[in-house]
């Protein structure tokens, strides 16, 4: 697959160079580790530090979400690979204001091991670190093993909730509670139509027939739970929604935030057609859409397809969703 890149081994570092140049009013690279990106603005004294992160190739996640009302820092990994402990630790030290730091990332073996190692090292430096792992992907494990689930697009809601809570001045314990609540109330399911490819191999992450789709795929091109014939958008939306609603039943009168997330190459046109169906189905069930997000929030390079995320809201979560944010790749007034 074709790429507009130079040396495949340098893509992440060159991308970061461009990113920091483009958004120097928002972010800066730590001199200690160029894979450590932190906010370039004064945040309130004593604010809990919010660190999100993971592999590269998911932009706007993660560096695009550094900013007021969202994350304070991001350690950056190679393509689809957790960052090692060093940049995580450097970010942690840079964003800690004495009130502790929360780590938020998708529940993948690599991320868990690296962030845990970093947390141990941070504690040696007397920084309190708490972790909330995002587990929104209903396709990645059954409800009975919910703690094994992976984090995909719904992570956006969890990062946003924690970022807002920290910006509001909540304590680390409270930020952790709210991030967990956001995660517990969030479910995502995705579908892929076309593969992505990592720059070094340029090989498609999977092969799909001209008339096939892959349901429940991972956000790194990991194969999904089922391969089937490509269906009309409404049927696909129903399929994804039904799985989510079976996993997290909603009642008439419930309020949700909705995210229809493009995986990289799916035109906005198609995302809005998917959203249309989501809004129809929820309306039929008497579920209120409190806020909608349609676009690219967590991508997989140039993968084609999308995911649907619902976050069930109570008063508290609704307030966090509404809280403004000002980041290089996401601004909410």
């Amino acid at each position: 697959m074709k790429k507009l890149i130079n040396n495949p081994e340098l893509v992440v570092d060159e991308m970061l160079e461009g990113f920091v140049k483009a958004h120097s009013q928002y972010v800066r690279q730590l001199p200690e580790n160029k894979r450590s990106i932190v906010i370039n603005r004064e945040t309130r004294p004593g604010k809990v530090g919010v660190v999100i992160g993971g592999g590269s190739g998911h932009k706007p996640a993660f560096i695009g979400y550094i900013g007021e009302g969202l994350a304070d820092g991001v350690p950056v990994g190679n393509i689809f690979a957790s960052p090692p402990p060093d940049p995580i630790l450097e970010v942690t030290k840079a964003v800690d204001k004495g009130t502790g730091v929360i780590y938020l990332y998708g529940n993948y073996a690599g991320d868990c091991m690296n962030f845990d190692m970093a947390a141990e090292l941070a504690e040696l430096e007397n920084i309190r670190v708490e972790t909330v792992r995002v587990t929104d992907d209903v396709a990645s494990a059954p409800n009975s093993e919910i703690e094994k689930r992976r984090g995909i697009a719904g992570g956006f809601f969890v990062y946003k909730a924690a970022g807002a809570a920290a910006a509001m001045g909540h304590s680390l314990d409270e930020v952790v509670r709210l991030a967990k609540k956001a995660n517990d109330n969030t479910r995502t399911m995705g579908v892929a139509l076309t593969p992505c490819s990592i720059p070094q191999t340029r090989k498609p992450s999977f092969e799909l027939g001209e008339n096939e789709m892959e349901i429940g795929l991972g956000v790194h091109g990991e194969p999904g739970v089922e391969r089937g014939e490509l269906k009309p958008a409404d049927e696909v939306a129903d399929r994804l929604l039904n799985t989510i609603l079976a996993d997290m039943p909603l009642e008439k009168g419930d309020r949700v935030a909705v995210l229809v997330n493009g995986l990289g190459s799916t035109p906005y046109l198609e995302l809005y057609i998917m959203f249309r169906r989501v809004s129809q189905v929820l309306a039929e069930k008497g579920i209120e859409i409190y806020r909608s997000y349609v676009g690219e929030y967590v991508t997989s390079l140039e993968m084609g397809g999308c995911s649907i995320t619902l976050m069930k809201l109570d008063e508290e979560l609704a307030q966090l969703v509404d809280y403004p944010a000002d980041c290089p790749m996401f601004v909410q007034k």
């Binding site: 081994e9 592999g55 990994g77 190679n78 393509i79 689809f80 690979a81 957790s82 960052p83 090692p84 402990p85 060093d86 993948y108 073996a109 690599g110 091991m113 690296n114 190692m117 992907d137 396709a139 990645s140 494990a141 094994k148 992976r150 490819s197 990592i198 070094q200 191999t201 090989k203 992450s205 999977f206 429940g216 991972g218 790194h220 091109g221 990991e222 194969p223 999904g224 739970v225």
Partner: protein, 219 residues
């Protein structure tokens, strides 16, 4: 068998070479059940190790120190799942080699047994989960057995590699329970685990190095 620090470093470079040669194949295996980067990740990690061996570690004679630097280098070059796993292995290995500038059979046995067990301590995988542990666990067992029976290290390591190979092959018929591929459930059947495969390449490249030196000594 007695291995000097220089030879130990050469053996690590041979491992790096093997990984480089098998890079495409390893990514191919990972594409089938994971995110397709395993060859890339291993290559980045081992290249960084070679770079370190040729620079900062060029004059280093302490094998324990070498292992410690290798661990950190590999880890910080790749992160990922394999970074912490192999970093832990080399850190555990470094402890038994601390201060040693040449390694005898006893050292080598202890090094590989500790390193291998480090993988399990970090990753908490069980045999049958379809991970690199399915290669490493039987290899470690073979080493322990040979060690107890007083076999020389080369003999023991030959058995370890053979057991590791069996273990690697057995992952083909497993349903994944750890790592990215675990989401696949039944669909992971029929595909050999990439991490199990690269772990076997590491073991077999080290053996190859020993055999080659042995050959030279015999001449």
């Amino acid at each position: 068998m007695l291995i000097k620090a220089d030879s130990f470093k050469q053996a690590l470079k041979d491992i790096a070479n093997k990984i480089e040669v098998e890079k495409e194949y390893l990514s191919e295996l990972d594409r089938a059940i994971g995110d397709g980067d395993h060859g890339v990740t291993m290559s980045i990690g081992w290249k960084a190790v070679v770079e370190k061996l040729n620079t900062d570690l060029k004059e280093e004679e302490d094998c324990g120190e070498i292992c410690k630097v290798v661990a950190k280098t590999f880890l910080n070059a790749v992160g990922s799942s394999v970074g912490p796993l192999y970093a832990t292995a080399f850190l555990r290995g470094s402890k038994v080699l601390q201060g040693k500038t040449e390694l005898n059979d006893e050292d080598l046995y202890k090094f590989w047994i500790s390193a291998g067990k480090g993988i399990q301590e970090r990753g908490k995988a069980e045999v049958g989960d379809k991970t690199m542990w399915d290669t490493i666990s039987p290899a470690v067992q073979a080493l322990e057995q040979s060690y107890e029976q007083g076999e020389d290290f080369l003999t023991g390591f030959r058995k370890a590699v053979a057991s590791g190979e069996e273990g690697m092959k057995s992952t083909k018929d497993m349903i994944s329970k750890k790592g990215r591929s675990s989401r696949l459930g039944e669909r992971s059947l029929g595909n050999q685990d990439p991490g199990a495969t690269s772990a076997y390449f590491i073991l077999s490249a080290f053996l190859q190095y020993l055999e080659n030196t042995q050959l030279k000594h015999n001449v």
